[in-house]
């Protein structure tokens, strides 16, 4: 305050503030009120100061004493019981949030694992969701809702996955063998058979119905399709393979834990970039399952191959004395060591990139095919597929031309 203005006449700002804040003792308050009753200036000042305080947020306007009083009133007043429903509500929200994120995490993990999976299984989405196929049986039985959510989620991801080849695995093949992830656990899971009555739930039926509606034109396809066989069939386009595979009965799959010999013998660390290997299976008798011989061989082959890049092999194809491998970074290597029976001793030569995108799969077109035309080809043809589902063909593994004969 300016002393010349208030000299001997007006109460100072301290006193006016204390008056406005009701902090003056009674006798002094009387004096200030007496002055203010005759002083327009002080009334105006007090009114403006009080008005400015009211415009301020409550947290600044409330004096500490008043805040303490309010806290006291809250604790002892009738509102104290409001904590009970509020607390219950908070706990429910917390539990729901935790469950939601755990569920989300599981599905995301499944999709990621599948996306990085072996390209051979990318082309054939199975009837069940990724989570359904890879979830241990005990969890699967106890979590029907999650299974359904997983199915729906996988269904939603299908178009995206088909667009981006890396995500194709989100729609996983009917059988999945996983190893080496989650901290290098040797625990593997294989999608199992329909014989278990406990798994003939409505979820699979529902999914089957939706699959059938989506692919009405493929209703006559084989109900059960071995993925490995399908992937080796050059007469079917990748899309066709997926459609056929999806038409397989949903009840034809279930997940059972499997300890693979490879996993037992050679624990694979969860190194970044090492994709979990998923292979198809051959249903056995009375609900027992075993890996198909081709799948087992491929699993062992890709695991044993040591490429010069140091990255693990993603896809391997052999024929006519040549072995072609693609590592996880998309680099293609060729080995022409016909005499080497040990994959570790092979001499690999890197093949210059002659394709676009990232190579994710290579295969021998004639291997395992039933197509007579392909079988009649005089030379062995290899097919390379990139992450955009475009394909190249090569007879020697060195020179690659766009569009494989199979596509033509």
């Amino acid at each position: 305050m300016t002393p010349t203005i208030q000299f001997g006449m007006h109460p100072d700002a301290d006193t006016l503030t204390a008056f406005v804040e009701q902090l003056l003792p009674a006798d002094e308050r009387e004096q200030v009120a007496a002055h203010m009753s005759t002083c327009t200036r002080c009334r105006e000042v007090a009114f403006l100061a009080h008005q400015a305080g009211e415009a301020e947020p409550a947290r600044l306007a409330v004096p500490p004493g008043a805040a303490a009083q309010k806290t006291h009133g809250w604790r002892l007043g009738g509102w104290r019981w409001a904590w009970v429903p509020a607390g219950v509500f908070a706990v429910l929200v917390g539990v729901a949030t935790v469950l939601h994120f755990r569920h989300e995490k599981t599905e995301t993990q499944m999709a990621r694992n599948s996306a990085e999976s072996h390209p051979l299984q990318q082309a054939l989405p199975g009837p069940g969701s990724a989570a359904q196929r890879t979830m241990p049986q005990r969890e699967r039985r106890n979590a029907p809702v999650q299974q359904e959510n997983g199915v729906l989620r996988a269904e939603k991801e299908k178009p995206v996955a088909q667009k981006n080849n890396l995500a194709i695995g989100a729609v996983a093949p009917p059988i999945a063998v996983q190893r080496g992830h989650a901290g290098g656990a040797n625990h593997s899971a294989v999608t199992a058979s329909p014989q278990d009555p406990s798994l003939d739930g409505s979820i699979e039926n529902h999914q089957q119905q939706s699959e059938n509606q989506r692919d009405l034109n493929q209703q006559n396809a084989q109900p059960q399709q071995n993925q490995f066989e399908s992937s080796q069939n050059p007469n079917e386009s990748l899309r066709g393979q997926r459609v056929i595979s999806r038409l397989a009965p949903a009840s034809a799959s279930k997940t059972v834990p499997v300890e693979t010999e490879e996993a037992k013998a050679k624990p694979v660390p969860a190194a970044p970039g090492l994709p979990p290997v998923e292979l198809s299976y051959s249903p056995g008798v009375e609900g027992s399952f075993e890996l198909s011989s081709a799948a087992t061989m491929l699993l062992k082959t890709t695991a044993k191959i040591a490429l010069p890049s140091g990255a693990p092999a993603l896809s391997v194809a052999s024929g006519a004395g040549r072995t072609i491998a693609i590592d996880t970074s998309g680099v293609l290597f060729l080995s022409e060591d016909q005499d080497q029976h040990r994959d570790q001793d092979r001499h690999w030569v890197r093949v210059a990139t002659q394709w676009t995108g990232r190579a994710v799969r290579v295969r021998n077109l004639q291997a395992g095919t039933k197509d007579a035309a392909l079988q009649a080809l005089p030379v062995t043809w290899f097919e390379l597929v990139n992450d955009k589902l475009e394909s190249w063909a090569s007879a020697d593994g060195k020179t690659w031309i766009a569009e494989s004969p199979a596509v033509k």
Binding site: M1, M9, E21, M36, C39, V45, H50
Partner: protein, 328 residues
Amino acid sequence: MHPSLLDELWRECGAGRWGLEREQFDKIVLLAGIGQNFGLEAGAKATHAQQAAFFRNVKLADLVLAKACAAGNERAWEEFMARYGQPLTRAAIAISRSETVGRDLAEAFYAELYGLNTRAGHRNCPLDSYRGRGSLLGWLRTTLAQRFVDHYRRTFRLESLEEQTIEGGAPDSVAQAEPSMLAMLSEAVQAALGHQPAEERLLLAEYFVDGRTLAEIGKLLGVHEATISRRLRRATDSVRKQLLRNLKQRGLSRKAAEEALGTDPRDVDLKIDVKKLLQNPKGEPFSKEALANGVSSKETFAVLLRSDMRESLKNPGESLPEQAKSAG
């Protein structure tokens, strides 16, 4: 001061959180206590209990911060700006009811607070005058309001008098009183008001002179507006009765006294200084409603109150009871 009291105050104040050192704190507290003599009369010696009671009754944390700022402590200024920078600007805008004027007002006040003004070679920081009787934020708002009102009054005086013409004439129903009657009436009004408690007089002034609403007055005085309404009614009735009694004591009959209440209030204050009247920010001493309804006892009383307030402007330093004494 006893060291244990200083320790206790240091713990309660929490000034160490924003970087004040203990030595500075002790110095500030000691100077603040001695400067106000611990709230006692000059010359009295405060006991330990009185010292403790004094510091319990002041906003110690705010006081220490203000004194540290006034002493030029940079950490204190940082804390001050973090705590009060934005609220002060908002308060200035609320007081001036203008974004531009408010910001200008706040910036000028910041500069003044920071001690840019010097007197005899020393920084003159208004925060040094803060005594912790109310909150520091309240003190800042009050000081801002003082700055604004004083500025308004200064610029108001520069406006031409033609713009301040008082409109409206006395209604026909208002009686034309004799000069002797008017003088008697003026004395009777002042005496009647002098019998009222100070807070009731403040209520009457806020309501009838300043035109505040019941809610505004209630918030300012910290009571409900319904309470203000009851107190106003009681005060009005009391003043009217006292006024009639005073007029009868001066030789008027009851009928003549009641007729005197209908006198044009402007005739009561013919000797008033027009300049002082125009210094009133309200600028309109008589409301049209009061003049139009002069026959109503309540409104007439309101007009009389205003005339009494105008009379008080002649001697701004005196309170109403003193005026009543001198009139008696």
